[in-house]
């Protein structure tokens, strides 16, 4: 039985370590400025926990095997513990766990405590059951006011704009795809129309809940062009699994062209 434990735990350990190490399933290539540091912290955590995992599982299996009852009449080694050892591994665990977290705090600070660059492009993101819509402020750089009683999904007025009476709303551009230029700081203003949603782009390593009643700003800079999926990760109802939009990162020229095309479709 002890040997069986050892064998099974060795198998579990080896297979798991292999799958992690060979990156058989792995996060996609990061395309934002914050990406590499997040990935570095992730890899560091993986290695540390991997070492602990291997030692603990193999240790457990080995002990289960080595200290099996050999029916030789002897008693177990009587001991109530070892205070020095307790102290040692307590301190070691504390240092490793807390140290690991402290190392990573600067990444969190970069995400949330660095101010938005003044030339950042502001885009409003609105989540609703079960789609995202995006609003650009247009040439005047201002978002027009939204009116709850003017919202009409059937006519495409998802934000409740009153273009006839609010001058700031006249040039607002509402789109169903989030188009952004590459290498430019972007500030997203996240809001929700109905229930809780979330905004997640794996490649950006950006993830933020959309909370009804609050407008939450996040900012990032994309470093590569491409088309990426924005998925909802906060359970929002029966269409949660299907709620998604596309992030299109383009060169500056392509972005301008795209934006003009969107204006025509308003």
């Amino acid at each position: 039985m002890g040997l069986a434990f050892f064998v099974v735990l060795v198998l579990i350990t080896v297979i798991s370590v292999y799958i992690f190490g060979a990156h058989i399933w792995w996060p996609p290539h990061a395309i934002s400025t914050i990406g590499p540091s997040v990935d570095h912290q992730f890899n560091l955590t993986l290695i540390l926990t991997g070492v602990i995992f291997v030692c603990a599982q193999l240790g457990l299996g080995y002990f289960a095997w080595k200290y099996r009852d050999r029916k030789d009449g002897r008693k177990a080694t009587y001991s109530h513990g070892n205070n020095k050892l307790e102290a040692a591994w307590t301190i070691a665990a504390a240092v490793v766990f807390i140290g690991l977290n402290l190392l990573g705090y600067q990444i969190w600070a970069k995400m949330y405590f660095t101010p938005v660059p003044p030339d950042a492009l502001q885009i409003q993101v609105q989540g609703q059951q079960f789609a995202y819509y995006f609003r650009y402020p247009g040439p005047d750089g201002k978002f027009g006011p939204t009116h709850v009683d003017k919202v009409d999904d059937a006519t495409g007025n998802f934000f409740g704009l009153d273009r006839d009476h609010d001058p700031d709303s006249k040039d607002d551009i509402v789109t169903a795809t989030l188009g952004i230029p590459v290498n430019r700081p972007i500030q997203l203003l996240l809001r929700s129309k109905d229930v809780g949603h979330s905004f997640y782009v794996r490649e950006l390593r950006i993830h933020q809940d959309l909370v009804p009643g609050i407008e939450i700003p996040i900012h990032f800079t994309a470093t590569e062009t491409g088309r990426f999926e924005i998925v909802c990760t906060q359970l929002c109802g029966l269409g949660h699994y299907k709620m998604r939009a596309f992030l299109q990162v383009m060169t500056e020229e392509d972005y301008e062209k795209w934006l003009q095309g969107q204006v025509a479709a308003q």
Partner: protein
């Protein structure tokens, strides 16, 4: 001692009953009228007709393009053609399509048999077809999906029971009924927020929906005084209505026209 335990037992039983009863409440309120009503005999020799045109005056609303980006299946079905919002559409000749016209008052003294054929609502290219439909209370609404993507059908009535069900690709059609008359019930697909249909549920078979000519014709009306109402989605989230009174004599055809503005 025993009395105390007996009282606790009663309390627990009471809670069971409360839970049980509230459960039953939910399940009994549903049953829509499926029983064949005894139709009032109507002398077909004397029936008349109301027909007319619905016009629109003023600036035509600009119809936004519908972005179906989030679901490539929807985009594919339209093969590059831009799809426009339907509410606010005005015909070439200045008339309005998708206006629901029906007899609001004057037919209460008759009872009508619920038709056995269903009315079909299709989801095609991530749009409802038809956009506006009429159905009688208790008549079967047959909902099908021609799209290889999941839709959910969510009618939002005020006087009928609200329900919300998904139709994944390949799923069987749904058959639903509305128990009470209500004009109109908006229908939404939450998965594709731009989708909208309107269902006018009437207690009588005297209704019509205008088409690309903007005309309607309601036949089979027994002689009498009637109030005809026209509903259009133009003019905001609840649309607009207009009423007109008309008296139909035996075998008469009366003309009733409606004129709507932007709001």
């Amino acid at each position: 001692m025993n009395k105390q335990r007996f009282l606790w037992l009663c309390t627990l039983v009471a809670v069971f009953l409360m839970v049980g009863c509230s459960k039953k409440e939910a399940t009994t309120e549903e049953t829509a009228t499926t029983t064949e009503q005894q139709a009032t005999p109507i002398d077909q020799a004397t029936v008349g007709e109301v027909s007319g045109k619905v016009t629109f005056s003023g600036d035509k609303p600009k119809l936004a393009v519908i972005h179906m980006d989030q679901d490539p299946v929807c985009v594919q079905k339209h093969q590059g053609e831009a799809v426009h919002v339907e509410d606010g559409e005005v015909n070439e000749n200045g008339t309005l399509p998708n206006v629901f016209v029906y007899v609001k008052e004057g037919a209460e003294k008759y009872t009508f048999a619920t038709p056995s054929e269903p009315v079909t609502l299709d989801q095609n290219g991530c749009m409802y077809k038809p956009h506006v439909l009429g159905i009688m209370a208790g008549q079967d609404l047959h909902i099908v999906s021609s799209d290889p993507t999941t839709h959910n059908i969510h009618p939002m009535p005020k006087d009928n029971r609200e329900w919300n069900e998904s139709q994944p690709p390949g799923a069987a059609p749904l058959d639903k009924k509305f128990a009470r008359g209500e004009v109109v019930i908006p229908v939404k697909c939450n998965q594709h927020p731009w989708m909208r249909a309107y269902i006018g549920v009437t207690k009588n078979p005297f209704y019509a929906v205008t088409g690309s000519e903007g005309t309607f014709s309601i036949k089979g009306l027994p002689p009498g005084d009637y109030t005809i109402e026209a509903w259009t989605a133009i003019g905001g989230p609840n649309g607009q209505t207009q009423d007109q009174k008309v008296t139909v004599g035996p075998k008469e055809t009366k003309s009733v026209d409606f004129a709507f503005k932007a709001s």
